[in-house]
Amino acid sequence: MFKLFLVIITLLLVACGNPAEDSPSPRLSAADVLGNNDVEGFLRAEQPRLFSFPQDHGPHKGFRNEWWYLTGNVETQAGRRFAYQVTFFSTAIRSNEEDSCKTDVFAWCTNTIWMGHAAVSDVSEEVHYAAERFTRQEPGLAGARLNPFRVWLQDWKLFSGVDDFPWELEIFADDFVLSLSLSATKKPVLQGVNGLSQKSPEPGNASYYYSLTNLETSGQLFLGGETYNVAGSSWMDREWGTSALAADQSGWDWFSLQFDEGRELMYYQLRRLNGDTHPGSSGNATSLMGTQTQIMPEQMQLEELNTWQAPDGTLYTTRWQMKYLDNDWIIQAVFEDQLMDVSFQYWEGAVDVIESSSGKVVGRGYLEMVR
């Protein structure tokens, strides 16, 4: 999903001043930034493209934004459940055309700023731990590359000995350390129309978007002085593009669901400033064999059943009813406070998928809400 690169802007404001004389608040609205009109010199996601792997796991130069975004539900052999999310997000300050780093003598010269978010949900204790990192790309403080595949932000890294799986994820935070091994069980799922995900009507307000909907996951989690050997399933979203939101869009709800029987479903609904859903909403269902079906907004019915109020007063929906075709599910947060209380606040946490008719848990997943 579109991650929160406005967080970066927020940070820059705190660190070095306010870019706009007329906006005294350091917190910008999502539309201010995601709808950024200054796209001069950047490539844009305008046409469908041919994806090829593993090359597309690596970086795509020329676009403003790109991210590697992992969520997963894991548990110990004894059945103690945890969930995690890790994001590597990069944004360019200037387009390549304006790039002044012509000489490599000046190692600090950089176009790109990176943000990292990591969180662990301790489901049985109902505690959520979050961490955040920022850095400029150069001199080698963060980056992404192939041969072999590697994405890193300071000492956080997602890497492989070769270009393909398994990948290793290493995250060091104050509260926890994650060391996981990830292997794809299905081929990449191209979201939107053949991987071109249109976010608002204007051409180019889109991204290239694919997902690895089922990554077999195993490894270790260090938390509270204990080491847990965990295993489970992860999901990775990959997106790159230059601009996304239109002026009347303000946030979104994003679901990534993995069903026990081997199907996956991704759906996002964009929200208007007044809270209504925006017709740009979209999704995709993946069958056991990897067959994809695009989900149109009119096929999806989402109802908000229960909300949780963050300390700042923002309401987040922690219990949803989702009706798709002839399915009827309840999407229930595993616990309510999975708030990402970092530079930019949002809610991101593990959910259970419950069949409405039987009340049985039929899957697990992740939910992100930006308000």
Binding site: A15, G17, P139
Partner: protein, 865 residues
Amino acid sequence: MTLPGDNVMTDMPAKKAASVSPGFRLLLRSALRYAVKRRWQTILNILGIMVGVMMVVAVDLANNSARQAFDSSLEILNGQITHQIYAGSSGISDNIFRRLKTELGLQRAAPSLSGQVRVNNRELTLLGIDAISEGAMQRSRPGLPDQAFSVTGNFIAAIGSIDSVVMETNLAQSLGLAVGDVFSISTFRNIQGSSRQATLAAVFRSPNAELTGELILADIAAAQYLLQRAGNLDAIDLVLDEENISQIQSWLPPGLMLVEADTRNDNLRQMSEAFHINLLAMSLLSLLVAGLLIYNTVTLSVIQRQQTLGIFRALGVSRRQIFSLVMLENAAVGLLASILGVSAGFVLGSYLVTMVTATVDNLYLNLAVTKFFVDPALLLKGLVLGILLSLVSGVLPAIHAARSIPVTLQHQAAKDSEWQNKIHLLAFPGIILLVAGWALLLPEYGSLLTGFIALTLMVFGFCLLVPIFLYWMLTALLILAGTWAGLPGVMALRNARSAINRTGLAVAALCVAVSVTVGVGVMVGSFRGTVILWLEQSLPGDLQLSAITTDIQTQSFPENMLEELVGLEGLLSMHYSIQEQVESEFGPLRLGANNIPAVERFYLKEVTPDGLADLDAGLGVFISEPLSYLQKIKLNDSISLLTQNGLVDFPVLGIIYDYTSGFGLVQMHDSLYDRHWSRRNVVRLTLNIDNEFDEDTVQKSVRDIVDKQGQQFNLVSNRQLRELTLQIFDRTFAITNVLRLLAILVAFIGVASTLMALQLEKFREFAILRASGMTPVQIVSLILKQTTVLGVCAGLLALPLGYLMSDILIDVINRRSFGWSMQHFLPESVLIEAFALAVVAALLAGIYPAWRATRIKPVLALREE
């Protein structure tokens, strides 16, 4: 205070008497009339205190501003950090920062790089920032932009760019720059400097603009580009907790050092403190002169009014009241003069501050802030000091006044001759003080404070000897020039000798005043002379060639250029020199290395028997004198330097004179350097010209070869280098010269006012002389001769005292403050200047009394007799 014989009105509290008694009001009126009548004397008196107070206040304010600038600069450049990582050599590699972040994941770490630059002929500090690292650093750096600042332009555009900068709105305006403008920024790293183009990406309005008023902010990438420091940083700033410290200590690659920020800053601060103490001492010396001046003039005013006061005593005015009157006069003069002095000091201080900060800047730390900070407490201190000084200096004369005998006729002459016998008694304590002062100076490593105490003791001791010296001088003059001088001359000399209690005091005051100018003048002259000598001895070769940019990657001399130079006719030899900063157990030091034979390139102070040969063989190092003195390192000791293999002890083979900066200097041979450092930084090429060829011609040929490389290299002759060094020297010591000029001013006022008072006192005598048939011309001649003789005596006596003072300043004060020792030079101009000052001031002092004396109406004057 209880006064002897103060029992006439014991039942009347003095305070009540002072405010109510009509008699006291009468006294006040008489005092006022006296002050108006002797207005020139009153004005000079006020002026003397005023200048004294002015100097103290100005120096205090300037010192304080420089200290504040020092602290603010540290605050802005460092912020609140706990540690810094320093590398040996010149700067820390970018690589280290990357590894610190990617291997250790250290969050509260930020790169640090700043330097002096010049924009539109203004000297500014360019500060490199990695705004993203700063977010995690969370250090307070007052003055740097945060969200409270209003910004015009695009701040974010500056991030990661190599040529964008931002600055405070007012600074941009004063430089005539607007957002989007492209302008030149040049560095100081080379004599001719070289510049690069920068774009002003944004301006911001800061709530504390005084902190950022001389600061250009740039991304760390732009800082490297604009400061021409590609590839390295000054340091890495850190905020660490206990756990981090040990983690980093064990991780740190050899060649790097983890330093506590406070310790390092305190070292720098202490070094610059010695300089501030020196300035303060000079200003206090002037205040001391002002004190002597007050004592002198108040004494004279009391003597002059002896008769009036006697009449008041006869009328029943108590001793306490007369004492109060004189003290009240002192307080009034003190108050008025202090108010004027504080005001003038405020104005002068705002000029001095640039000089003081220039010195601190040259010697210790690049100051990013140079603002005139006014601490009201310092103004109050000046005011109180001035008033106290006038009161304390006036106490003795006031007691003297209170002792006035209630008779109408005074026997002044009888009293004066009494004094002639007492001057011998004064000489004994004088000698004791001199000896005590000398004894205090004996230990080699004394404190600065004992140095100043010794100086004060010796000055006072000398003062007590002045009356007897003067008596002898006058007697000798009477014998030598008695007949030649004529009647007025003889009278002038006899008169001065018989009034030795007053003339002695006046001459002592003048002598101290003038000697300050001699002492400081000789000191600065000696220093300058020494620096010239040092430059001649320690600058090898004839031409120095260096790379203009100091980017590591671009720093080497092209082979083809070297080949051409080798083939050049008239060029005898070439040597590489390496200059960089190295960390040591004593903080940062400068390190120099080359393969020029030691004999040719050092101004040696001490050396081990085989020191020169051993240095050439790479067996040890030479260290600079300040380093040796301040850190108490002796020959054959060793010094620990941070090399690329960690700390290494180097034997000290010699101690060399060095006057380049407050930091220490370590010199070694190339071969030793190569063993411990693999990277060669800031390479300079020293060229020797064959004596048989014309220097200018060879220099021109060299320049032609060098210019073929474009604007990459900088060629300077040693002659130019010497001139430049002396320019920097003069800039560094400009403040000392200003204070010396002010001391001259105080001295001048002192001489004039004291001698004028002496003459004015004698008016009745002149009237009698006129009545006895002396012509006005003869009286004028008498007055001018007497003031001149006293001026000459003061001038002559000031020379040995000044020389003594300069000795103490050179060998004790400067050494204890900076660790520098210097050769003694006696600049004749200083001596002539001082002597002329005394004589001219004395002559001028005689003019007004002489002019008044010609208008005496003997009859009127005599009527009072």
